[in-house]
């Protein structure tokens, strides 16, 4: 049997549905840095980011345990979608909800300075670009690679890819939109 470290996200979530708590622990350890990095760039404080991270993973766990729902085919993208929606929800309501944690019976956790240092360290170690590049459609990755990684001009790339600069810019924009979601904001 593959260890949790070797199992795919889909396998970990399938095991979680079978009440394998350690499987969800492995899923949490694998993605906690990315979720924290995504949220830390968009929230006023690391405490809020940590709080939203807890609510995000609780919501993910609640969804996995709901046998009436299919498990996600792209768990990481699905997880970031939950994080984004939790973020939007907190902005709309002016506070971080804890409905998912309530649903699971999880008590709120206090955060001290040592925790914040650890969170900073984890965010610093997280390379979201390589993680999220796997999420991009081929045409967007191609455009993004030519423009951002190779640093080539739009007109040159557009000529090579036989598309207009407007379309090329849109592809780069859409790709960056995905990447920016986790990377753009001040830390």
């Amino acid at each position: 049997m593959a260890s949790a470290r070797e199992q795919s996200d889909v396998e970990l979530l399938a095991a979680t549905r079978e009440l394998d708590g350690e499987a969800f622990g492995a899923f949490f350890r694998r993605h906690r840095g990315s979720v924290l990095a995504y949220l830390a760039g968009r929230t006023p404080s690391r405490e809020v980011a940590a709080d939203l991270t807890a609510e995000t993973f609780a919501a993910a766990l609640a969804a996995v345990r709901d046998g009436s729902r299919l498990l996600p085919g792209e768990p990481f993208a699905w997880l970031l979608t939950i994080a984004r929606n939790k973020l939007i929800d907190s902005l709309r309501r002016g506070r971080v909800e804890q409905s998912a944690r309530d649903q699971l019976g999880l008590s709120p956790l206090a955060i001290d300075d040592n925790d914040l240092e650890r969170i900073d360290e984890l965010i610093g170690q997280t390379d979201l670009v390589s993680t999220l590049a796997a999420e991009l459609p081929a045409e967007q990755l191609e455009a993004l690679s030519a423009r951002v990684i190779d640093g080539r001009d739009y007109d040159e790339i557009a000529a090579e890819l036989q598309c207009s600069q407007a379309v090329l810019r849109k592809r780069v924009s859409r790709a960056l939109r995905t990447l920016r979601a986790a990377l753009e904001a001040p830390r």
Partner: protein, 423 residues
């Protein structure tokens, strides 16, 4: 000693291993009703049902999702710039139909907003967890944008010269924006919508029982398809873009769409995943464009480093804007090449300044991790004014100025691995 993340992990692992017990009641136990109260409830419920037959009670309006700025990001709806289109789509479970509002913003974007419609108003329903299940219709005022607007790039917004399609897999029948909470299977909706421009006639999409075709809104090319998820479990949105011109690139039918039909003069044709079949629209052939040297205006750039305890924690770039930016079709961009032969890899970090700028004003840009991707203790920063072409044409970007800054001796850079940002 354990930290927050360890404690959270332990909580989650424990919760994940516990079998689900009987569902806990969400509210107090229901009390036995006295006959008088029961009669009153029956009257009220009967009234509500009667109202539901012709329309729902109106609840509180949907609140804006954040402090939006008319000159930043997507902007805000322009005064008088919102219009509910006559297009309607039935909900699979019945009830109020779905509709689309077209919204023109102060930054020149054209956005589409989807919701349920009652009495000519777009709104959301208090069902399936939204608005505490109050069963009411909650209107969305014309001055509210789709919820992603505060993050700058709104997937429901494009420039007037552009077209797009979008399929959302995580919508609920309430039409309230997804909030991460599980949507009951019966309430899950797949929403396909888009803006296809003046030449579009109809879209064809897959249903659980085959292919179905529906006409688009004449003139705008807006379409809307609402159905239960055809492939349950799909979580992520998808879409495609193009230009609203006869020979321009067109959106590719993605997501729920299997074909898009256009009329170009006397030619009626369709784009589909098999583009060479009978009736296929001619493929767009764009002329090969020669690279054109970008004009440069050599505007001076200034960078002030923020150093604390010998650590470069950030920098501020300032320059005088030689051109005004009045809409989203043009923008100043910060380009920071990094890496090179001496480094592991290289590339260009680009960040648009997504806001309006007055000509002659001082533009200030925060660069929180200016040396983060440099391995030579120096960084070149270039400011470019970029204009999105409205047709197939060469780039019109202009180099405003460039500056190279150096990490002062005895300092180090705050450690951040990668950055991209919107200023």
């Amino acid at each position: 000693m354990t930290d927050f993340l360890d404690r959270l992990e332990r909580q989650l692992v424990t919760a994940a291993a516990v079998p689900l017990g009987p569902r806990r009641p969400l509210a107090r136990k229901a009390r036995r009703l006295t006959p008088l109260v029961a009669a009153l409830v029956a009257l009220l419920v009967g009234g509500a049902v009667a109202l539901a037959a012709s329309g729902l009670l109106t609840g509180s309006p949907v609140k804006p999702t954040g402090p939006l700025n008319p000159t930043v990001g997507s902007g805000i709806p322009a005064r008088g710039g919102s219009r509910l289109l006559p297009l309607r789509a039935a909900d699979p479970a019945g009830g109020l139909p779905w509709g689309v509002r077209i919204v023109h913003t102060t930054r020149g974007y054209v956005c589409l907003q989807v919701g349920r419609v009652q009495n000519g108003q777009l709104g959301e329903l208090g069902v399936d967890g939204a608005f505490h299940n109050d069963g009411r219709f909650h209107p969305v005022a014309p001055d509210i944008l789709p919820p992603a607007a505060e993050f700058g790039n709104n997937p429901s917004c494009v420039l007037p010269s552009e077209t797009f399609t979008s399929t959302l897999f995580d919508f609920a029948s309430s039409a309230a924006p997804p909030d991460g909470r599980p949507v009951p299977v019966h309430a899950q909706r797949e929403i396909a919508f888009g803006l296809l421009g003046r030449y579009a006639l109809s879209v064809t999409y897959a249903t659980g029982h085959g292919q179905h075709t529906t006409r688009v809104d004449p003139g705008t090319g807006v379409f809307l398809v609402v159905q239960r998820p055809v492939k349950p479990g799909e979580q992520f949105s998808t879409g495609s873009g193009g230009l609203n011109q006869r020979n321009g690139p067109r959106p590719f039918p993605t997501g729920a769409l299997s074909a898009i039909t256009y009329r170009f003069g006397n030619l009626v044709c369709a784009d589909s995943p098999t583009p060479h079949g009978h009736g296929a629209c001619p493929q767009t052939r764009l002329p090969t464009q020669r690279p054109v040297a970008q004009p440069t205006v050599h505007e001076p750039l200034h960078v002030t480093l923020e150093i604390k305890h010998r650590v470069v924690e950030g920098a501020e770039l300032t320059f005088i804007a030689p051109y005004a930016v009045t809409s989203a079709s043009e923008r100043y961009e910060i380009e920071e090449p990094f890496g090179g032969p001496a480094c592991h890899g290289g590339g260009m970090a680009t960040g648009p300044i997504s806001r309006g700028v007055a000509r002659g004003s001082t533009v200030r840009v925060n660069l929180p991790d200016v040396f983060a991707n440099s391995c030579t203790r120096s960084q070149t920063i270039t400011v470019v004014l970029s204009r999105t072409p409205t047709t197939v044409q060469p780039s019109t970007s202009t180099i405003i100025g460039s500056i190279t800054i150096h990490e002062p001796p005895g300092t180090q850079s705050a450690r951040v691995q990668v950055r991209r940002r919107t200023h």
